[in-house]
């Protein structure tokens, strides 16, 4: 019965590297007498180096088209997961890079910032490579718990603590829903593995699927909708975005959304593919509600982070449109969309983080941006490019992201939803363009009561990230092939 068994840690070497780096920093940080923003900045750079090493190891380990299964089927990797992991790692490193110069201003003084970001990244990697509801749960919790702590890291500021508490309570509810759904699934299928559950559903659906599967599916979708903040599970998003320090908001808005979407897609396509009819109706509703709310609720916002929160709700609606399509085109469109979303959101938050005034809050109100174009033409130009791209104006990358999603929806026969998507994107372009208008056509206040946005704070890493994001967004239409090929490879690995 007892056999020699050595866990296959070679396969999860990137995760191991990140964990070791985080533990090393944790030990060094605890022995330091003083923790200040300088130490935190150095740790952020160390974390970026660790992530880069993990990326290199991941790329060396993975051979195109290769699949492997390890830890008794709890962890798998194929092209789709490999590319998703790459996105998550690059996204986390980029957010760390853009946050470095503003750490002191945002009052992120504790060195645990970098450590928690690394742990959250490991959690996200576990989420996307999980092939079992238990390992998925562990990944979800690892990521979630790190994010709750990150949201509260500025503990002396009331809004930050409030945001963290809301995030924590709603996250706990989402966890409960997930566990409830999974235990139902375990009760009906007798296993937590994606493969076994898929097989059981195949057998059962021949004779009529028990209701328990559908209820479990509903619970799991509801829980994941919390993670990607799809309406009606979006309530936490505006408050959390507004309350957290901007660097943390950028992190919450970027990679976790990507990981959540990938998990969404994997769960729906792997174990539940034969219940396509059931889940498509739910996803169509989520997508519809997110697109409409994201477009209309943001119109009256004056706080830029709140506005971006509603914008990200809307963007998730468009991604869900691709998920609802549920075909090969849909998966490709989702992949392209989340990649470009990651680029746009990191770029936008990078611009916001670089604008600094005498106060330490950075840009808070839309009016703080007025006349930035005369003061800082470069930042204003690149931010305007991101706004046009988020609005989906050709020839910027955001337009193509939306185009592929709508094409996929139409190929799946979801005409109504595609039309609503186009209409809401017209409505949403109002507030994106409003930001551009404020930057370029509003006068710099002669005697500004709020002196935000007066100076630019950057670091070398940040300039690299901002330029990379800007170049991708501006010139995607000239050479879109690499991303499209990636999406194709990903879609091939996820059979539908």
């Amino acid at each position: 019965m007892i056999e020699a068994y050595i866990p296959d840690f070679y396969r999860i070497l990137p995760e191991v590297i990140l964990i070791l780096a985080a533990l090393g920093m944790l030990i060094e940080g605890s022995f330091r007498k003083i923790t200040d923003s300088k130490l935190t900045a150095r740790f952020c750079r160390n974390a970026i180096v660790a992530i880069v090493i993990a990326v290199v190891v991941l790329c060396i380990q993975h051979k195109s088209g290769e699949n492997w299964v390890t830890f008794e089927g709890q962890i798998v990797q194929d092209d789709f997961i490999f590319l998703a992991k790459l996105l998550i790692l690059v996204g986390s490193a980029a957010v760390l890079a853009i946050s470095i110069p503003s750490l002191a201003k945002e009052q992120i003084l504790s060195f645990e910032y970098a450590v928690l970001v690394l742990f959250a990244t490991v959690g996200m990697l576990l989420m996307v490579e999980a092939n079992d509801f238990i390992s998925l749960f562990v990944g979800l919790e690892m990521q979630g718990l790190s994010l709750y702590v990150l949201a509260a890291i500025n503990r002396d500021q009331l809004s930050s603590s409030e945001a963290a508490l809301k995030y924590f309570v709603l996250g706990a509810i989402s966890t409960c829903l997930y566990l409830y759904g999974t235990s139902l699934l375990y009760g009906f299928a007798g296993s937590t593995s994606f493969d076994v559950i898929g097989a059981v559903i195949r057998v059962e659906s021949a004779v009529g699927l028990p209701l328990g599967f559908i209820i479990a599916l509903v619970f799991i979708i509801a829980s994941l909708a919390f993670k990607v903040s799809a309406v009606p599970f979006h309530m936490w998003t505006p408050d959390v975005y507004q309350g957290c320090p901007t660097a943390i908001t950028a992190f919450i808005a970027a990679a976790p959304k990507v990981a959540g979407m990938i998990v969404f897609l994997r769960i729906l396509v792997l174990p539940f593919i034969l219940m396509y009819g059931e889940w498509q109706a739910i996803i169509v509703f989520l997508s519809f509600a997110s697109m409409v709310l994201g477009a209309f609720a943001a119109l009256r916002q004056t706080d830029i982070k709140r506005l971006l929160a509603y914008s990200s709700i809307g963007q998730m609606g468009y991604v869900l449109l691709g998920v609802a399509a549920g075909n090969d085109d849909g998966i490709q469109a989702v992949f392209v969309y989340i990649t470009l979303y990651l680029v746009m959101i990191i770029g936008t938050f990078g611009c916001l983080l670089s604008l600094r005034g005498k106060g330490h809050f950075g840009v808070q109100n839309l009016q703080d941006l007025s006349g930035i174009s005369t003061l800082h033409p470069k930042i204003a130009f690149i931010l305007a490019a991101f706004m046009f791209s988020l609005a989906g104006i050709p020839p910027l990358a955001g337009f193509f992201a939306k185009l592929y999603v709508f094409k996929a929806a139409i190929s799946a026969g979801l005409f109504g939803l595609a039309i609503i998507g186009v209409l809401t994107s017209v409505v949403a372009s109002y507030y994106y363009l409003k930001i551009v208008k404020i930057m370029y056509f509003d006068e710099v206040p002669a005697a500004p009561t709020i002196t935000f946005g007066q100076s630019v704070v950057v670091s070398p890493e940040m300039i690299v990230v901002l330029n990379a994001c800007g170049i991708i967004i501006l010139f995607f239409f000239i050479y879109p092939n690499p991303l499209l090929e990636m999406a194709q490879r990903a879609a091939l690995a996820l059979p539908i």
Partner: protein, 204 residues
Amino acid sequence: MINIAAILFYLFSGVLLSSAMMVVTARNTVHGVLFLILAFFNAAGLFILANAEFLALLLVVVYVGAVAVLFLFVVMMLNVEMGNIQKTAREYSVAGGLIGGTLAVELILMLYSWNTSPEAFEMISSPISKDGVTNTQALGNLIYTHYALIFQASGIILLIAMVGAIVLTLRHREGIRRQKIGDQLARDPKDSVSLVDISPGSGI
């Protein structure tokens, strides 16, 4: 024999459910925690009925011995005003009832579609004691072999929770007198103790 087991099962689960109900509804939070302990004991009884004696003892040792006592400490320290909580709870009772009712209906609907597979009875009657593997060994096999990765990852999650607790609560304040054992032991009586001869009737 079967009857005794059945009677015990209904006894344990009846007390378990009613004390769980009391945990939620008890006006006094300390009573709530005590009912929680009762619920843990009954759950342990159910585990013993299912031949899982290791889990039963673990439940008593860990949950009753450590977790519930910790809860008791927290409840006594926090001095929660139940009146306010119940007042706000009443405000949300309509929405809460609606969502709870929906969940209940879903559960009841689902019970109709439940069918127990023939192998399940066999598994219930001998859950782990096949081929002479003991309870503890079977659990160890699961945790440290089959779910090794998940076990390690759970360790990381606990570490994150610990880091979080420290980040959010530890404050380095000025003027705190900490124990420095080395300095304290190295003190010399000559430096700190002096003999003063005080004449009667006058102070120092």
